[in-house]
């Protein structure tokens, strides 16, 4: 496999962001623990970005019916689910020492978890099809319906939590942040975004190759050749 400029850019920005995340001073209150923010916040950002890309891919597919857009939608959701999972996991690891619990019913956390499962369902649906055309049709419908629900889930969860007590704990994206820390965070967001682009573009290529492998050319078997004349009566010689 040949490394492409996008891959190199992803590795380069990720390395830079990694170093930046290590050399900036620790947070005044949380100390080194806060450095997990450099993974958590960009992952959460990618969750939103990827599902937006899936929505765009689905809508465009339904209009132009070109499989390229369906592959983009699928690849983006797949990469997105990984980063959504990472956002949830890092959120829990970060939350445990600070809040004393792995899970808290923070609106944003709940929304992220719901999104995670919505797109897990989306990927499970995609995997169920052999035929790329049928897969594209059905998953793009789900891609649109799921995306329509995200803002509604967002509002309902926010209202739900607002009804009880507004969480006053430190938010992962605390706006009162020191300049060097903010720089490192922005670096990380940029790096993760480039990594996302690189992964999605690779995944799109891979899906195209998978579809091509399933799609026969004229040298392949035709229908019926899978069945040969039955041998009965035991006369095999």
């Amino acid at each position: 496999m040949r490394a492409r400029p996008l891959d190199l850019a992803a590795i380069g920005t990720l390395a830079t962001a990694f170093i930046a995340g290590l050399v900036v001073p620790p947070d005044a209150v949380q100390g080194d623990l806060q450095r997990i923010m450099y993974v958590h916040v960009p992952s959460a950002w990618l969750a939103y970005l990827s599902f937006t890309v899936t929505l765009v891919g689905s809508v465009v597919y339904l209009r132009v019916r070109s499989l390229r857009w369906d592959r983009l939608a699928g690849a983006s959701a797949e990469v997105g689910v990984v980063f959504t999972g990472l956002a949830l996991a890092t959120g829990m690891i970060w939350g445990k020492p600070i809040w004393g619990v792995w899970w808290t019913w923070d609106a944003r956390l709940v929304l992220t978890a719901v999104m995670f499962f919505v797109y897990l369902g989306y990927l499970a649906l995609r995997r169920s099809f052999d035929d790329p055309e049928i897969r594209a049709h059905r998953s793009s419908v789900l891609g649109v319906v799921a995306a329509l629900q995200i803002p509604i889930v967002h509002f309902s969860v926010t209202w739900w939590r607002g009804l009880h007590q507004p969480p006053t704990i430190l938010r992962p994206d605390n706006p009162q942040i020191d300049t060097p820390l903010l720089f490192a965070l922005l670096m990380a967001v940029a790096a993760f975004t480039v990594v996302f682009a690189a992964l999605v573009s690779r995944r799109v290529e891979l899906t195209a190759a998978e579809d091509a492998a399933r799609r026969p050319d004229d040298t392949d078997a035709t229908a019926g050749s899978a069945i040969s004349a039955p041998i009965v009566g035991g006369a095999t010689s």
């Binding site: 369902g121 049928i134 059905r138 419908v141 789900l142 629900q149 509604i152 509002f155 309902s156």
Partner: protein, 222 residues
Amino acid sequence: MSLRRQITTLVRFELRDELRGGEVALVVIPFAVIALLTIPMAIGIDTPLLERIGPGIYWSIVMLFGVLVTQRHSSLAPAAARDMLRLSGVDPAARFVATTLATFLLLLGFEVGAGLATVILYDPSLSSWWWLAALLPLTAAGLAMIGTIGGNLVAGLEGRTSLAPLIVVPIAVPLLLGAAQATEGLRVGAGILRWVLLLAVVDTVLALAGVLTARPLEESAT
């Protein structure tokens, strides 16, 4: 044939098929009642607690078991019957509306059945019961639409019985929150208008999505 007549004909026969098969009345409702019965066994018999959590448990049961109502046998016409309807010139949107309507009525029956069991087993106290006349249909309509879309998405697939709930339930989260928070508001005597509006908005968005996606889904019939 007018769209309205297509829809009423389909709903009539689909409901008759279901009522005769009895999947919802004889299988899904009893299953839901067993669930309502086992929860106090698992968490302990603390009457004030059960009274408090009863409505919330009811709505989770409605959402989880309601998926079974939406994926019942009669909502998934045999593949040959789908071909027949398609060749008879039945509009895909009319089929979506018909299946949704039939499911809506069955879900409403399911909600009432499970609701009675909840009242008997948990004895919840709500301030303004009449609000339920809006909450039950709004929730049933939303779940029916998500279930019909989900059922069309997984139609013909081998793993559809396990796949459909994974697709339907996360998308139905706003319905659960809306319905559960509204009944919680009724229990403590708080305003619930915004939750009712939330349910109405969800239903409107789903109705648009269902009608608009009916044709692409039919074209992808296996």
